[in-house]
């Protein structure tokens, strides 16, 4: 079957999709967006977390056919998504992304081999700065989940962070640096850094 939907603001079309394929598979294998990760494919690890019409979901559990006409944001589009949110003056952070907003921006590629100089979302920068990235396989899903939590709850208590990220497994860090990163991003956000 054929599926049309919007990914990171860009209209996409996938052809010859097998009906049992997940959104995750289509993103990774058909649209060249492997940033969302395939760690468990059963909704237990959160590594494939994307936003579907603004809502964080496990893309491995969304059938490809279910995203027809809908909006998806992946880690590849997170920096632009956050930038647009900031420019939208959404101080409360509660406004999410409208259909129109989502369609107006486009993911930017990075031409540097190192990625240095790439514009990052605050949560992405905080993950690097706090040492929250080791193998990095859980990182894309955690970033999408953490960014959405900070959008809803700009000043989370530690227990709020833990609850919001309890669907994202990490095997390397012991989560301490991930906690640090989210606290750092929240602090920078509140200071307007």
């Amino acid at each position: 079957m054929r599926v049309h939907f919007t990914v990171n603001g860009r209209p996409q079309e996938a052809d010859d999709v097998w009906e049992g394929e997940s959104l995750l598979y289509v993103l990774r294998e058909r649209l060249g967006l492997p940033g969302s990760k395939n760690a468990c494919e059963q909704g237990e690890c959160g590594s494939c977390t994307v936003r579907l019409d603004g809502v964080p979901v496990c893309s491995c559990l969304v059938a490809a056919g279910q995203v027809e006409g809908r909006e998806v944001v992946t880690v590849e589009g997170l920096a632009d998504f956050a930038k647009q949110r900031a420019e939208g003056g959404c101080a409360s952070g509660a406004c999410g992304t409208s259909l129109q907003n989502a369609q107006e921006w486009q993911a930017q590629g990075t031409d540097s081999q190192t990625g240095e100089g790439t514009e990052l979302a605050p949560i992405q920068q905080a993950f690097i700065d706090a040492g929250a990235v080791q193998c990095g396989f859980c990182t894309p899903g955690l970033l999408v989940a953490a960014d959405e939590m900070l959008e809803r709850n700009p000043n989370p208590a530690d227990a709020d962070i833990r609850e919001a990220l309890s669907g994202n497994l990490c095997r390397c860090t012991g989560y301490e640096k991930i906690m640090d990163a989210v606290r750092l991003a929240a602090a920078r956000q509140s200071q307007g850094v």
């Binding site: 993950f127 990095g136 860090t173």
Partner: protein, 798 residues
Amino acid sequence: MAANGAPTKITQGSRTKGGIGESTLRPDGTLKVTGEFAYSSDMWHEDMLWGQILRSTVAHAEIVSIDTSEALAMPGVHAVLTYDDLPTDVKNYGLEIQDTPVLAHGKVRHHGEPVAIVAADHPETARRAAAKIKVDYRELPVITDEASATAPDAILVHEGRDDHHAGHVPHPNIVHRQPIVRGDVASARERADVIVEGEYTFGMQDQAFLGPESGLAVPEEDGGVHLYIATQWLHSDLRQIAPVLGLPEDKVRMTLSGVGGAFGGREDLSMQIHACLLALRTGKPVKIVYNRFESFFGHVHRHPAKLHYEHGATRDGKLTHMKCRIVLDGGAYASASPAVVGNASSLSVGPYVIDDVDIEAIALYTNNPPCGAMRGFGAVQACFAYEAQMDKLAAELGMDPVEFRQLNAMEQGTIMPTGQPVDSPAPVAELLRRVKAMPMPPERQWESSEGADVRQLPGGLSNTTHGEGVVRGVGYAVGIKNVGFSEGFDDYSTAKVRMEVVGGEPVVTVHTAMAEVGQGGVTVHAQIARTELGVTQVTINPADTQVGSAGSTSASRQTYVTGGAVKNACELVREKVLEIGRRKFGSYHPAWATAELLLEGGKVVTDGGEVLAGLVDVLEGETVEVEEEWRHRPTEPFDLRTGQGNGHVQYSFAAHRAVVEVDTELGLVKVIELACAQDVGKALNPLSVLGQIQGGTTQGLGVAVMEEIVVDPKTAKVRNPSFTDYLIPTILDTPTIPVDVLELADEHAPYGLRGIGEAPTLSSTPAVLAAIRAATGLELNRTPVRPEHLTGTQLSEG
């Protein structure tokens, strides 16, 4: 066409000196947070096919027949291969003993063993085709434990063994046996005022790295193959792959793709040979990606173990002797079992002074899942048991458990049971002192003005208690782990370092085959290059087999050994650069000949700080490059009868204090805090050090309270191969992990560093167990602890 997702070099600058001792950031960090970093499962190639493995549905059986005709006839299927299709006489592989069939031959020995492989144009086609392969099994009785393995009429898991351990083991179903005897246990036992015994059980833990086994094999025009792969050791893979393919090693190019964690689980081959076979057979690139279910069958696990210990002590708290017997279940294939036996036996005494010991460790061949390397490697199981013994002894003697440990703690100069002196700092008592001195977390943190915050209580979000039945407990543990490969293994690494001027600036390129699995080796290599060569820009080349072996990313060894190799190569580059400088500028300044010269800030300077020349001027179009192997001090094998020998090169120590709250009625546990003190010798990157300690601590927590692969003892089949039923800690299960880092240099190691990755995994588990014992008063001789064990409901009804 090149494979999409092939790794490229990463260049990282630094605004600071960016050398060792600084918490410089990961050079691959930006790529990882943007989703650009390509893991092995992200590899993609036009026209690529998908590989699928058919695995045995039973644990032990003769294969009567395999019929692939229906599968081959399916549209979209390009190849179906079985044992009969293997191209050469080499049909087995293995790390130390080549006992593992690439595809099953006449027999399967464990649940999930590869029987046939398929390549098709879509993963679903490949799955459907695999499902159409008909395999007729004639089931055999299963061997699942020591009794069934060594019974007089036991079926041999491997008949006709001719490996180098076959001659000395007491039974062919024992992979390896290592005794260690020292002193006179019988007379030491006479001196003991108290003797405690214990029988301990350690469950089967899985590495549960998040990035599943995966890779892409691309056939090359010269008849060879290029494999993009996530592994811990490229050259070890290569040595096992090439003979099976019938190719010389230089026709099997291997490039490290992004690795989604490893923890020992990628030390053995998984899909490497299968992908290459299918690529060579079809002439097309073949990608294989395990899903989580298959991943549980696709790699070895931590050896489950039964441990019997006896310790004695005098009334004043001095250990008199120790006897132990450690039985590790190696499962169907040897993997790293022999080395795990060496570790379990040689480290079974723990970080304590005991002169009189009688130790035996064995690994079994059974029909259970194969077991091999996992973080802590044989030392983990022993630490769980001897630390329980220490608490029992302290209780018996009425002593404080920490003081009792300190009284018996080893130190530099202590003689190990193997006869080897500990020749670098061993601050065991100090680590215990530090971890005990850390402030305690406040009581009843779950209480708030709005009632109980269940997120901070046992049971968490499941709302099982609002404080009822909750009791706090505190426990301590300390452990000892060897660093590097031991027992006479030629443990070396290779580094190629180049210095040149690029864009008017001196740049150093570091090329090694080190597998970056998340630990931060690439970060440290750039730091070492900056420190040794005085540049800011460092390029890290992708790891591949175009450079010599780096050894494995395991045994806490990469910063030591490949770090050492990079340091060594940098020093050789520096000498060459200085030679060029002397040649060009020596006549202008006498210091070129007389002073100690350094490279700093892009310049050649004297040790007095005087600038002699800029590196740009010295190099001026020249490129200096060195590739060199580097080794740590040699070790010796353990004597097969006495266990004597200088088997290890370095030890690593960590201590933990666990604070837990237990819902004693429901048997649910919340770990409140896991404080750690560890000696790291020298923290090359303090931020990464903390990450290693906290991550290792959490894996130890997992196996204390939830992680276990459950194997049915009647069928030897795995009962929980999924993340739904093999649980690893979430962020809500993981406590704060304050860390106190001690830096006592080991004069034998580069920069005085000590391997750090594994020690925290050792002591974390027994500390949590001790805390649960303190909260419940239960004996708890097995890990993981399940709610059943805390509520006396482990037996079936009726």
